[in-house]
């Protein structure tokens, strides 16, 4: 979906992005992870040409981005940012409808799309469409911001630390929502963050960046289990590594199928961390596991967590 090929960008003598190459497949949720100044935001903003590249090429859907007029390109790519940037003088409906209207959709289609997106984000359409941004909570504003980015059904969604400015409880909810929406819509998403926990939770693939280059590219589990070098090891955090591993491994991988145990079952999709938490809270070392339809299909035991 995205092919970034040997791209560089300098400001004066400072090389912000240094000969960076990255390919993101369709349907991936790729997190660019790094500390501030590592070039992750610059990389993101070169994809929709908010920042021009110095050298190298970027292709989206096989097409070189510099061959498309920037406005046309950006209308095909959703964009959500930390400061959200909702238009304060427009209603929620008008905000979400921005790109569809730029693309000259018929008004009936725009209305339907706004309703559909509000429902997707669990915001009741009749009561929310007429509200102004200042009447919304921070979490609701960011939901509307992401809904606006998805409005014209873009092939690709770029997100620049979208949840960094909201409180932890709201962030948790928004992350869960993004995971759900990614699963439902199967969009390709590039997501920039400096928060390792957020990256582990959301990503299908993580690119760890330092000084304008990608230090390691891999799944969350890869990165925890086989850090490429000391930088990654430090970044991921030597402390609490085990807990992070538990949070990315799934119950499904450690299941004893066919066995049975008492109690409220865990989902197959639950992480081992959630399993440990449930065992600790319920003072037990065995929990039943159910599949997506809610049928009990096996058991996970305390010993399985550390295998």
């Amino acid at each position: 979906m995205i092919e970034i090929d040997k791209v560089s960008k300098s400001y004066g003598d400072h090389r912000v992005v240094d000969d960076l190459s990255l390919t993101v497949g369709a349907g991936e949720l790729c997190v660019l992870l790094g500390s501030s100044g590592c070039g992750k935001s610059t990389t993101l903003r070169m994809i929709n040409r908010l920042i021009p590249t110095d050298s190298g090429s970027i292709r989206v859907g096989g097409e070189d981005v510099t061959l498309v007029p920037p406005e046309a390109l950006r209308r095909r790519i959703g964009y959500a940012i930390q400061s959200i940037g909702l238009f304060p003088h427009w209603t929620v409906e008008d905000n979400i409808a921005t790109v569809p209207r730029l693309l000259k959709w018929r008004e009936a289609r725009v209305r339907d799309r706004v309703s559909e997106l509000l429902e997707l984000f669990r915001l009741d359409p009749p009561s929310y469409r007429g509200k102004y941004p200042h009447q919304l909570s921070g979490g609701e504003q960011q939901r509307v911001g992401v809904a606006r980015a998805l409005a014209a059904d873009p092939e690709l969604l770029l997100m620049d630390e979208p949840f960094a400015a909201v409180d932890p409880i709201t962030r948790d909810a928004l992350q869960a929502e993004l995971t759900r929406i990614h699963r439902v819509t199967e969009k390709t998403i590039v997501f920039v963050t400096h928060d390792i926990e957020e990256a582990l939770r959301l990503a299908t693939v993580i690119a760890i960046m330092d000084r304008g280059q990608i230090v390691q590219l891999g799944t969350p589990l890869d990165i925890l289990e086989h850090p490429a070098n000391d930088f990654v090891r430090d970044f991921v955090g030597r402390q609490g590594l085990g807990l992070k591993l538990l949070s990315v491994r799934k119950v499904a991988d450690r299941l004893h199928a066919g066995e049975a145990a008492d109690g409220e079952p865990l989902s197959l999709e639950a992480s081992l961390g959630e399993a440990l938490s449930a065992m600790t809270a319920r003072h037990t070392d065995r929990l039943p596991v159910c599949d997506a339809e809610g049928r009990k299909i096996g058991v996970i035991a305390l010993g399985d967590l550390v295998r």
Binding site: R74, H89, L102
Partner: protein, 245 residues
């Protein structure tokens, strides 16, 4: 709604202004008492209404031009392409403001002749600075994130100005226009020294002929004109506010 209208100063100032404009001679008995030796005691070379309409025309033309040019310049210097010109535009506007309008008249008359034209030029130059300054402040006050989102979603440069920047900056821009217009109403009166017809005409005629009641009549009407305009702008600002807040 009616209660709010009756309680508002706009209505009362407007009524007083209209009454004096149309029926100043009703005050003749009173003025004769105060100025027994002056004859005539009410200015009668032109009707106050025609003087007012003439001044309104001058101010409207000059302020409209200053608003259009001022806002356009502010938009230009707040774009990446125009950023370099910002200091220059600011300096020019400041010079326009420091130059006394009387001096502008003195320079303009030999070039464009007597009457309305030099007055409009002086008012235009004098009114530019508050509009430019406020428009720049208003445009720069648009939150960065809003800008970035607008650009990132694919609004063209013109669409960003029209749909995002100008509506959001509107209250601040309007405040600048309000100041500029109010100043222009007062300043327009000196146009009478070069032959423009304004409510300043009775003031200068009165000063020349030593007829104090003429000065008084002109001054009161100009003051009411300015106050009324200011109040109307205040209403307009309040009407604009809830949209952005």
């Amino acid at each position: 709604m009616r209660g709010r209208l009756l309680g508002s100063p706009v209505l009362w100032v407007a009524l007083l202004f209209a009454a004096l404009l149309l029926r100043m001679d009703a005050l003749r008995p009173l003025l004769v008492q105060v100025f027994p030796r002056v004859e005539p005691v009410v200015y009668n070379r032109d009707s106050f209404l025609s003087l007012f309409l003439s001044q309104l025309g001058l101010v409207a033309v000059a302020s409209l031009a200053a608003s259009l040019v001022g806002v356009a310049l502010a938009v230009f210097v707040t774009r990446p392409a125009g950023r370099d010109f910002r200091a220059m535009v600011n300096a020019l506007a400041t010079v326009g403001q420091t130059f006394p309008p009387a001096a502008v008249l003195a320079i303009a008359v030999p070039i464009v002749g007597f009457g309305a034209r030099p007055t409009v030029i002086a008012l235009f130059l004098y009114g530019l600075l508050p509009i430019i300054e406020n428009a720049i402040a208003g445009l720069e006050g648009v939150p960065h994130g809003v800008h970035e989102a607008a650009e990132g979603m694919g609004l063209s440069a013109w669409q960003r100005v029209r749909d995002v920047d100008l509506p959001l900056a509107a209250p601040v821009i309007l405040a600048g226009i309000r100041v500029s217009v109010t100043i222009a109403i007062g300043t327009a009166t000196i146009g009478s020294t070069v032959g423009a017809l304004t409510l300043g005409t009775p003031i200068f005629d009165g000063l020349v002929a030593n007829k104090l009641p003429f000065v008084l009549e002109g001054a009161v009407l100009v003051a009411l004109f300015a106050v009324l305009t200011d109040l109307l702008f205040a209403r307009l600002e309040r009407w604009l506010q809830p949209v952005t807040d």
